[in-house]
């Protein structure tokens, strides 16, 4: 009894104190452990140089494939040890910023290119690799269209790894049972949706708990209607436009049609990605508009029911006749890796990154991941399955790839935009309301940029 009273007193004193610490201290704290071994990257087999490496490859088949590559690398380079931290993609966006802000950036870390990476470049947080890429043709290894988003004001701040594009994955059996063909135009897509919705089946699986999936629809519709060049001009945080082209509003209104007709998973703002994948793989939804990062997922028997693995195929986002964009454009972007500007082991970090992006490793990764590695010659008839080959062919014949908006918009603009789109999915924000919030946030960010 006496002890309980004491506990109560302690709790009474400690709780308010803790709450203050938590409330105020959260943005400011970072831990002070960890120290590079500071030898500039010349380790020995007995005391190897440690390269900290941050990856988002948390699931099979990616994780075991990466672990295998690292193991092989360490056999070839016994003087270097790769210390990998695996972080879930959505948590990663926050984790890496916190680490970098606290001066604890890993030596080599995963990045999305575009404004997402450029911000790190502006802050002097990532190494300019221009000279290194010129040496012995390292830079020439990569697919040419995968490089531009890593370039910023004359420097190159990362190297591409996987090229990701969006596709509608669809359930072939469900389409066949209803005599439906792959829709090539927007009206045909609406017809497919009507058919499924008419029988009480949700046409398209959607998870929007992380807020970004829905904006891919907006991005590609804008590309179709507004045009890819105007879109890039409007995104720019310094010179950006005001999103005044009528196609912006039209695109959002078309998206609103999908929402109001009930073509998406209900309450999708509260549905996470794994649930959406499961809804698609269990015949609950006929289509899933997802990225090529799921090519591996839906072909991996530990993640997807075996009978479903052969029952899906993919088509590109339909064209919107009359739109001002090139209707054959794809939407997507590469992902990649950067080296921290303040790394203690630049040589070892470079050695690892060169190895990781070497032609042999790339071929091996394509084989195991069934994803598109941005290295010339990585995808071959031998190591790529039919779906990946289709993707690689589509990509090489596409006139261009428009990047998704979230890596191109300044972070506060992106958050305001994604927030407004979640509202639109809930029916609480109109298409015009989304545009208004996008424009306001964008104008504010431009003002900020002008004061730098």
């Amino acid at each position: 009894m006496r002890r309980t009273t004491a506990t109560r007193r302690a709790a009474f004193l400690a709780l308010p104190l803790l709450s203050l610490i938590v409330a105020i201290g959260l943005p400011a704290c970072g831990n002070g452990e960890e120290a590079g071994n500071g030898d500039g990257g010349t380790g020995t087999a007995a005391s190897p140089t440690v390269v900290e490496f941050a990856s988002i490859w948390v699931n099979p088949p990616r994780k075991p494939a990466l672990e295998k590559v690292i193991e092989e690398f360490e056999t070839v380079h016994p003087d270097i040890r790769i210390d990998t931290e695996f972080i879930q993609p959505d948590a990663y966006k926050m984790a890496i910023r916190t680490k970098v802000a606290a001066g604890e950036a890993p030596d080599v870390f995963f990045v999305w290119p575009g404004e997402w990476l450029w911000k790190f470049a502006r802050g002097g947080q990532v190494m300019d690799l221009t000279e290194e890429l010129d040496e012995d043709g390292w830079g020439d290894r990569f697919l040419p269209n995968s490089m531009p988003l890593f370039e910023y004001e004359g420097g190159t701040y990362g190297v591409p790894m996987l090229m990701q594009c969006k596709y509608f994955f669809y359930n072939q059996q469900m389409f066949e049972d209803r005599d439906l063909a792959e829709p090539a135009t927007w009206d045909e897509l609406i017809h497919v949706c009507e058919t499924f919705a008419g029988e009480g089946t949700t046409p398209i699986a959607l998870s929007n708990a992380q807020a970004w999936p829905l904006h891919h629809y907006a991005t590609i519709l804008w590309q179709r209607l507004v045009g890819e060049d105007q879109l890039l001009r409007d995104y720019d945080r310094v010179t950006g436009g005001d999103f005044s082209h009528p196609g912006y509003r039209q695109g959002l209104e078309m998206l609103e049609e999908l929402i109001s007709q009930g073509y998406f998973t209900p309450d999708a703002n509260g549905v996470d990605r794994d649930s959406a994948r499961l809804l698609f793989a269990s015949d609950e939804s006929a289509m899933f508009y997802t990225g090529t990062w799921d090519l591996g997922w839906f072909q991996d028997e530990s993640l997807t029911p075996a009978e479903f693995i052969d029952n899906w195929w993919m088509f590109q986002f339909p064209s919107v006749p009359g739109g001002e964009g090139n209707q054959s454009y794809m939407m997507g972007a590469p992902d990649g890796y950067a080296i921290a500007a303040d790394t203690d082991v630049p040589e070892a970090a470079l050695t690892w990154l060169r190895y990781f992006t070497s032609p042999d490793v790339s071929k091996q990764l394509v084989d195991e991941l069934q994803e598109l590695v941005c290295v010339e010659g990585a995808v071959t008839d031998q190591n790529a399955g039919p779906r990946l080959q289709k993707y690689a062919n589509d990509l090489s014949s596409a006139p261009g790839v428009t990047p998704w908006a979230d890596i191109m918009l300044e972070s506060s603009v992106r958050e305001a935009f994604l927030d407004a789109l979640q509202g639109m999915l809930d029916g609480t924000v109109s298409p015009e309301g989304v545009l208004q919030r996008l424009r306001e946030a964008h104008a504010k960010a431009r003002e900020e940029a002008a004061q730098e």
Binding site: M1, T4, T5, T7, R8, A11, F12, L15, P16, L17, S19, L20, I21, V22, A23, I24, G25, L26, P27, A28, C29, K93, M94, R97, T98, V100, A101, K119, F120, R122, G123, G124, Q125, N208, A209, Q210, A211, P266, D267, N269, G270, V271, S275, L278, L279, E284, S411, S412, R414, E415, A416, D419, Q422, G423, L425, D426, T428, E448, Q451, E452
Partner: protein, 279 residues
């Protein structure tokens, strides 16, 4: 005394002052820009509808926690205050959720409450013989209530213990005398326990209120403030402003707002306690 002061300055006062200063700046640690903006961050967050809805959610959280947890904890404490084996066992059971980390609880209830594949809906489907698909965490109308429910499940046992400590300090003779006079269990609760427990209940109510203002982990792990900000509270709002939108200054301004509310609660408590003491 000195070591305690050093620890306090380092881990409490320092961060508080740093947060106060930060709130007056536009600071982007990744992009590397720092600019003094005065009260602009406060103006921004005070006019931001998301701050209003987060504050409203916190107030609902406090209110429902008080309404549900305090009476429930009181009844449990009164019923389980004896030293019998069954009471001791039940006390341990009710208290046990508190020792589970909030992250584990969040993950656990994420599985239980999932709208499509959740355990609760599966159980309801079995019980009602009809497919149940309630989006406990994905329907914006009930997500916040579901989370408050989880918090009540987690913390009621703790508040039971706090009140129990108070009950056990009430002299036994009072209850014995009342029993001789033929007072029922309910009459003893109303006539002896509640009046003599007022101070402890006041402290406990403050603990509930402060706990509800700073609630973060459960929300972040389950919904991250979603769907569409329906479960956004001040702490998640602070986090997403500072980290997701990379507006450290504005995030700190939210933190200062939380500090102000917490201080206000502490002040109210101090006034009430002082008045109690002078009775």
């Amino acid at each position: 005394m000195t070591p305690a002061l050093v620890v306090f300055c380092l881990f409490a006062l320092g961060p508080i002052l740093f947060g106060l200063v930060l709130a007056a700046f536009h600071w982007d640690p990744v992009g590397g820009t720092t600019r003094f903006v005065g009260l602009e961050n406060f103006q921004d967050i005070l006019t931001d509808p998301r701050t209003h809805s987060a504050l409203k959610n916190n107030l609902l959280w406090i209110t429902l926690s008080l309404v549900v947890q305090l009476p429930l904890a009181l009844v449990l404490a009164a019923a389980l205050s004896d030293a019998s084996r069954s009471s001791r066992l039940l006390r341990t059971l009710f208290f046990s959720p508190l020792v589970i980390p909030a992250v584990a609880i969040g993950l656990l209830f994420g599985i239980v409450l999932d709208g499509h594949f959740g355990v609760l809906n599966a159980a309801l489907s079995l019980a009602t013989d009809e497919p149940t698909r309630i989006g406990w965490l994905s329907d914006r109308r009930i997500a916040l209530l579901a989370l408050i429910g989880v918090a009540c499940w987690q913390y009621t046992g703790f508040h039971m213990m706090v009140l129990l400590a108070g009950i056990q300090s009430i002299p036994r003779e009072l209850y014995e005398a009342a029993a001789i006079d033929g007072a029922s269990w309910w009459q003893r609760l109303r006539g002896i326990t509640i009046p003599l427990l007022r101070r402890v209940m006041l402290v406990d109510a403050l603990l509930i209120a402060i706990g509800s203002i700073k609630i973060f982990d459960l929300v972040w792990v389950t919904t991250q403030g979603g769907p569409n900000n329906a479960t956004d509270v001040l702490a998640t709002h602070m986090y997403s402003t500072a980290i997701m939108s990379e507006r450290m200054g504005a995030g700190s301004a939210v933190a200062v707002l939380m500090l102000a509310i917490t201080l206000l609660l502490a002040l109210i408590h101090a006034r009430l306690a002082a008045r109690e003491g002078s009775d």
